[in-house]
Amino acid sequence: MTARESARCLGISLEELEDWQCCGAVFPLATDAIINLASPFRTLASAHQAGADLVTLCSGCLNVLRRTNKLVAADAEIRKKLEDFVEMKYAGERKVFHLLEVLRDETGFDQLQKKVVHPLDDVTVAPYYGCLLLRPAEDMAFDHPDKPVIMGEFLRALGAKPVSYPFQTECCGSYLSVSSVDSTRQAASAVLKSAQAAGAQWLVTSCPTCLYNLELAAESLDEPPRLVYFTQLLAHALGVDAYLEENGALAKNVMPEVN
């Protein structure tokens, strides 16, 4: 909701894919686990049928879809199997973007800056990339795998002050929060502490699982940074959240107050 309205505000037209389904959440790493590719394949093929590229708001979806897309384009054997199974034709013709990439490459961060009505006046925000946006670097080709800059630039465009901290690309523990809560808490705490030490007031992420894990870890910290989804920041800065409120959008979408 925040993203759609923000995009509208920026003149990007986002269409929700009809009859969408989950991308499968994780990219299968075993060479013979082709069946797990069926679901992202179907999503990609549907987008192709609709004649559009795909935009995701989630690092996880981006990771799965982009890697599947690359694999399908490169491996004719796997493509054939998937086409037969899903009964749709698709050979990697479409592109998969993260909304951040669209903002950077289509809108341009300088243009975005001009549209900001509520600049996040000098709040220090820690960009948190985690794993899925950046790795494997060869497949994702998203940003520098160890020294990424895109979120920092995004934050700067919104008027915030991005802080640099060493753990911005560390893993938060991912899905282990379901099976092994403690290990996740440990990993996510390390991230939060690192951001905290760098003086971050807020921490921004683009993955729901990261957000959840960080929230869990934050519970046991003193004055942890506030955790926000990047689209929330975007909507707030563009002044879209007021509109959302009027239309009875979820309270969760609304920005927390600056301390």
Binding site: H144, P145, D146, K147, P166, F167, S194, A197
Partner: protein, 665 residues
């Protein structure tokens, strides 16, 4: 009719283990024209060579086939033997029944059949061989040495001491190279300057060595014994003839810039020398930072120079030298560790590379030899050394081992303990490679006496936290991850060829490997030669080398040059390309395919009817041609032939093989 002798070698069991040598010998005896055929256990041995000589004399042989190993191995041996017995050496043909046959086959019967076929083909070739005589060309007894580091200096001194003139081209304003940047040297810990600077002085005052400073080799034409080399000298803006080296200019210059020589840890002036012991002790102006050259202001140096040596109008100078041999000693660079973001190089000032650490250690360095960390000048108490930073890393860095890092890191840790007795050095390593004389002992001393803690594993993350550099690595021996809050991190960055080495390789027509290191003519038997005759290698240009190796190399290359110069004329290998002008259509497609630029166009005057007409044909420069045969392949009309490997000979060989008479049914 040729009288051909066939000599089959058993090569111990190398050949005889798979090939029935007697059968091959018998079969050879049946080939028309073969008047003698025998085998022996080691044909290359003295008794073996005597067999050949005796047979040449007794049976009046005028063509030989030696069925043995690869010509690269022993062709020269048997040619010499034939020559001693009075036969033209080019009437000898090797039939390679070892590498091409016995070593690669399992079935004895088939291997024997194949060996027989190979011999048959060789006989057909020898039948068409012509005696060849080498041509003679004069040579210039003057050498060019490219690079004024320890290797280049050693080569220059050795050649000059042998009585020949040397031009030493150095791109910087001082000789000394990398070694001048070092503090102490392993495994003896003697100070680099103490052993280097006297040599630098010796080079500078040697009457037979001419220095070309701030210069590069920009073009090379000609061939062994007769190279014409173009040298381009960058302007120094100081007339070194007039300059007396008082360095008042350096003293008074207001413009400072980070010193490249000190790896950016210290500053230098826009006019001056890299270090006080520079040779020649003459200043240069760094144009990019000179206020006068950039903005037209200042000019203090010009005003105060007592001998009016400063010359802002100085231009680039280009000249040519005639030399007979070239030694390349361009040395090494280190990999820009920026590629490894996880090590924080370039991000944190206290993560430095090993050359910078050498400068910290050096008494003439930015800290006068006191180990201080760059960020705040504090003396670091916990120092982490990371070996293989880019080496042995085919994924992001270099696949090869840089060879010198194990040793200099041990040295660094030792020196550190000597200077900071209460400090601790940690070394992340993969394998310790300490194969030189006294090397292993040196490493053990670092461990036992100087308390260096070796951790077997790599580092995955380096980041700053609370003013410390946190190093996260692993000790695979303990099976534990290691975290060290360090004050200073030193990366043993991979050794790479000098920037520009590839371009120079093209100028010299010397092949380089995928990493840019120059290829030796033979990695074992001709380690200081290249495939381009007259061009030799010294030091790290051919791969990572330590000082003793580089010096040994340099003397080896110098010896090769001295041997070359001991001749008054050069004998030219006669196995070169030749043009049949009557067939040549003059298309000159051979010209661009020649890797040695050995083919030129010439105007042929011919009579057509009653008139004289001219037409273009190709002609081969015997000095440049290396006999690779590329031209004869490109030549459609068959006008280009490689002597000793003519089209006719090769076709005869193919035809002999097609008969396959030796093959079992």
């Amino acid at each position: 009719m040729r009288r051909i002798g066939v000599f089959v070698c058993s090569c111990g069991l190398n050949i005889a283990g798979r090939v029935d040598v007697q059968k091959v010998t018998d079969a050879a005896a049946g080939i028309p024209g073969v008047v003698h055929s025998e085998n022996y256990k080691y044909m290359c041995s003295e008794p073996g060579q005597n067999l050949i000589a005796d047979a040449i004399r007794q049976k009046r042989l005028d063509g030989l086939v030696v069925a043995a190993c690869s010509p690269a191995m022993h062709e020269l041996t048997f040619r010499s033997a034939a020559k001693l017995a009075g036969l033209n050496p080019y009437m000898v043909q090797m039939a390679n029944i070892r590498e091409h046959c016995s070593w690669v086959h399992r079935d004895e019967e088939q291997a024997t059949a194949k060996a027989t076929d190979i011999v048959r083909a060789a006989v057909e070739k020898v039948r068409r061989d012509q005696p060849l005589e080498p041509t003679r060309i004069p040579l210039t007894k003057k050498a060019l040495v490219i690079g004024g580091g320890i290797a280049g200096m050693q080569s220059a001194l050795d050649i000059a001491d042998a009585g020949y003139d040397v031009v030493l081209v150095e791109k910087d304003a001082t000789i000394g190279g990398r070694m001048a940047q070092l503090s102490e040297t392993f495994p003896t810990l003697d100070c680099a300057s103490c052993i280097l600077t006297p040599k630098m002085a010796e080079v500078a005052r040697h009457p037979r060595i001419q220095l070309a400073m701030c210069s590069r080799v920009t073009q090379v034409a000609g061939y062994v014994g007769n190279f014409t080399v173009q040298i381009t000298q960058a302007p120094t803006y100081v007339d070194w003839e007039k300059c007396i080296g008082c360095m008042d200019c350096q003293e008074r210059c207001p413009s400072r810039l980070p010193s490249e020589f000190d790896r950016g840890l210290g500053k230098r002036k826009a006019i001056g020398v890299d270090f006080p012991q520079a040779v020649p002790n003459r200043p240069v102006i760094k144009a990019d930072h000179c206020l006068y050259l950039q903005k037209g202001r200042c000019g203090i140096c010009e005003k105060i120079c007592p001998v009016e040596a400063v010359d802002f109008q100085q231009q680039e100078k280009v000249w040519e030298e005639e030399v007979g041999a070239i030694i390349v000693a361009t040395g090494f660079d280190v990999l820009g560790a920026e590629a490894f973001a996880e090590y924080g190089y370039g991000q944190y000032p206290d993560v430095i590379d090993s050359l910078a650490y050498e400068r910290l250690n050096s008494s003439s360095g930015p800290t006068e030899g006191v180990i201080r960390r760059p960020s705040d000048g504090e003396i670091p108490k916990e120092v982490v050394f990371i070996q293989c930073a880019g080496s042995r890393d085919p994924d992001k860095g270099k696949a090869y081992c840089s060879k010198i890092c194990c040793m200099y890191t041990a040295k660094h840790a030792t020196l550190y303990r000597h200077k900071v007795p209460d400090g601790q050095a940690y070394i992340f390593y993969m394998d310790i490679r300490a194969g030189g004389k006294g090397y292993e002992e040196f490493v053990q001393r670092a461990v036992e006496q100087d308390g260096a803690l070796y951790l077997r594993g790599r580092v995955s993350r380096v980041y700053e936290e609370d003013g410390k550099i946190v190093v996260k690595g692993v000790d695979t021996l303990a099976g534990e991850n290691i975290e060290i809050a360090a004050d200073l991190v030193v990366l043993a960055s991979a050794v790479t060829p000098r920037t520009g080495a590839r371009e120079l390789a093209q100028v010299l027509k010397v092949p380089a490997d995928q990493d840019g290191f120059y290829n030796e003519a033979h990695p074992k038997l001709r380690p200081v030669e290249t495939v381009t005759a007259g061009v030799y290698l010294a030091g790290a240009v051919a791969g990572p080398r330590d000082i003793p190796e580089a010096v040994a190399n340099a003397s080896g290359a110098a010896a090769k040059v001295a041997v070359l110069f001991s001749n008054d004329e050069l004998e030219n290998e006669p196995l070169i390309a030749a043009v049949d002008e009557s067939k040549c259509s003059g298309c000159l497609w051979c010209v661009p395919v020649c890797p040695f630029d050995a083919i030129e166009e010439k105007e042929l005057i011919e009579r057509v009817g009653s008139k004289e007409v001219t037409r273009p044909v190709a002609t081969v420069n015997a000095g440049l041609c290396q006999g690779c045969g590329a031209c004869s392949v490109a030549c459609r009309d068959g006008a280009m032939n490689l002597k000793g490997f003519t089209n006719e000979q090769i076709l005869a060989e193919v035809e002999a093989l097609c008969l396959m008479t030796g093959s079992p049914e």
